[in-house]
Symmetry: C2
Subunit: 334 residues, 2 copies
């Protein structure tokens, strides 16, 4: 899969993932939806995210362990499976750390395409870890963003993002504070990873008309925005039952109004109403996005090398005989 992505390049891949995502969001009612199944522990969380339409079933295994980078491991690793609803047979299994970053960025850009004010050109990127470059390029491809202001508490992470984004047609500004990155930006993306209530943005930093793309707060107890920002924003979510527990809106009363993104994409609900609105896409990541990413991969690449995960006995009722040859005990004894 890495070869495939490398051959195509990130920009064309992002454009195609965004097209798949848009098509699947537009047929939202076709899907059997459920909140993900999370297993929390002291160090992090392991989740299963299943979803299906009438033809394809998909799920993703994904963890989130903020302490992993200190061990030289990834905060998030993931793999996904696509299966055939008619037979239950798996069709495709693949690593999804990169696909997750791609589909998260694609979802962010898709949301911003209907929520950010028109003519948006600059984006602040707060947190320049594993997601950062994908976000920058998705917004460039979808909205024509040409200026990225980078900020991270880790200067090495900023240098890394800057080097990766060099020579890709973006003006890169390394900000010395969150305030400097955010001031005057059309879009603010927060992508930080601590599993805690953090306040990456405070209300005084946010300007009328900005679109906030909050992707780091994505599980119970993990938020990035001051609740005052959420209170003053028009808020859009992927799948309300999941976001109520996991998103920035976990800080708000149960009646705090939100709109699901698919309804805006279908024209069933308004997105941004005025150029002065502060819009917030409270993104936590939803199974539909993984479905779209896996479907994309299946359509462009097929199954890839085959994995020996399904026994194929001559007689499907003879599972035993397919493993243990007949009379084996007798032969051993003889």
């Amino acid at each position: 899969m890495a070869d495939l992505l490398r051959r195509e390049g990130p920009e064309p891949i992002l454009r195609r993932v965004i097209a798949c995502l848009r098509a699947d969001f537009l047929r939202w009612p076709d899907f059997d939806l459920a909140p993900r199944l999370a297993s929390h522990s002291a160090g992090g969380v392991i989740e299963l995210m299943p979803i299906a339409d009438a033809r394809l079933y998909a799920f993703k295994f994904v963890n989130g362990h903020p302490g992993n980078t200190r061990l030289g491991k990834q905060t998030v690793v993931a793999f996904g499976v696509l299966a055939d609803v008619a037979t239950g047979y798996p069709l495709l299994m693949c690593e999804m750390s990169v696909l997750t970053a791609l589909r998260t960025a694609a979802t962010s850009a898709l949301a911003a395409s209907v929520l950010a004010r028109s003519g948006s050109r600059s984006m602040a990127l707060i947190g320049t870890g594993a997601q950062a470059e994908f976000q920058a390029l998705a917004f460039q491809q979808t909205l024509g963003i040409d200026e990225i202001r980078l900020f991270d508490v880790d200067p090495a992470a900023v240098a890394k993002a800057r080097a990766n984004l060099d020579h890709r047609g973006l003006r890169l500004v390394c900000a010395t504070s969150v305030a400097e990155a955010v001031a005057g930006a059309d879009i603010v993306t927060t992508a930080t990873a601590d599993k805690t209530r953090a306040t990456i943005l405070t209300p005084d930093l946010v300007e009328p008309g900005q679109h906030l793309n909050a992707i780091g707060g994505d599980c119970p107890g993990k938020t990035e925005l001051h609740p005052g920002i959420v209170a003053g924003a028009r808020t859009f979510v992927e799948y309300e039952p999941q976001t109520r527990a996991e998103g920035e809106i976990q800080q708000m009363p149960a009646g705090y109004p939100v709109t699901e993104l698919w309804r805006v994409l279908r024209g069933d609900a308004p997105g941004r109403v005025s150029p002065e609105d502060i819009t917030l896409f409270d993104s936590v990541g939803f199974a539909l996005e993984d479905f779209s990413a896996l479907r994309f991969l299946w359509e462009i690449a097929g199954a890839g090398p085959s994995l020996d995960l399904i026994p194929q006995p001559d007689d499907p009722k003879d599972l035993f005989g397919s493993v243990f040859s007949r009379g084996q005990a007798f032969e051993r004894a003889a």
Copy 2:
């Protein structure tokens, strides 16, 4: 894994899986438990079954599609993953059709070891499909069952089971009816597959003192026993919240009393009280059993061949750079 099982032989493998299962059932309160997540469609069901203790996380992907045998495919295919709770990293992935049959048989035998009347020697096996031989050998190894009465509506399935079980120290009787198979048997195992309300056993066939091991009824709308049998039996289950929806007891009122098997194994609740009791193990298959099977495999075999499912960038924050080389767009353009 097939090589490993073949080398060891089914009987020693079953004894070891039963030992792992018993150890894990005895520490039931250590586990983070949840009913499985099922996605139902016209042709079958696809399920995810997660479970974790403080050290290991496991899940199984498994389908159930009764029409698959008509396509030359398996009714049930499955694979499982074991992951490290501390980092969220997957440790082991393996095919689980065979492991599922092994752990199902091991669980049946473990339950019967505390529920069947002492001195049990004969078992009727109604439904001689993919599970049959595993059941027969697990009961032989655990309880000393030496007579198996085989019955299936498909004579080829009976012939298959008979051939596989030949020369394994069992007296094999091919019955011409369910009634003939059941009459005088100490234990009756039902392992049929139709996704429907079936009545494999009726109350008139069941004798006082018999232990019923019902493994075929395992999802909503799929049962094997006449409700009159359940009403007259002392019933034991794996995990009550799941079995209420999926087991034979879905036919009973919500207040119908059941006992979880782990409590009997720990001595916290009675099992069989009198030699005349009809005991029923209403088995639907639970994630803990897969956990035990995967732990068993991990302990005897390790991870096996490595799968390229986790990217290992030099810098864990540099996911982008690990796939897309820096300046790639520039190089392409140059």
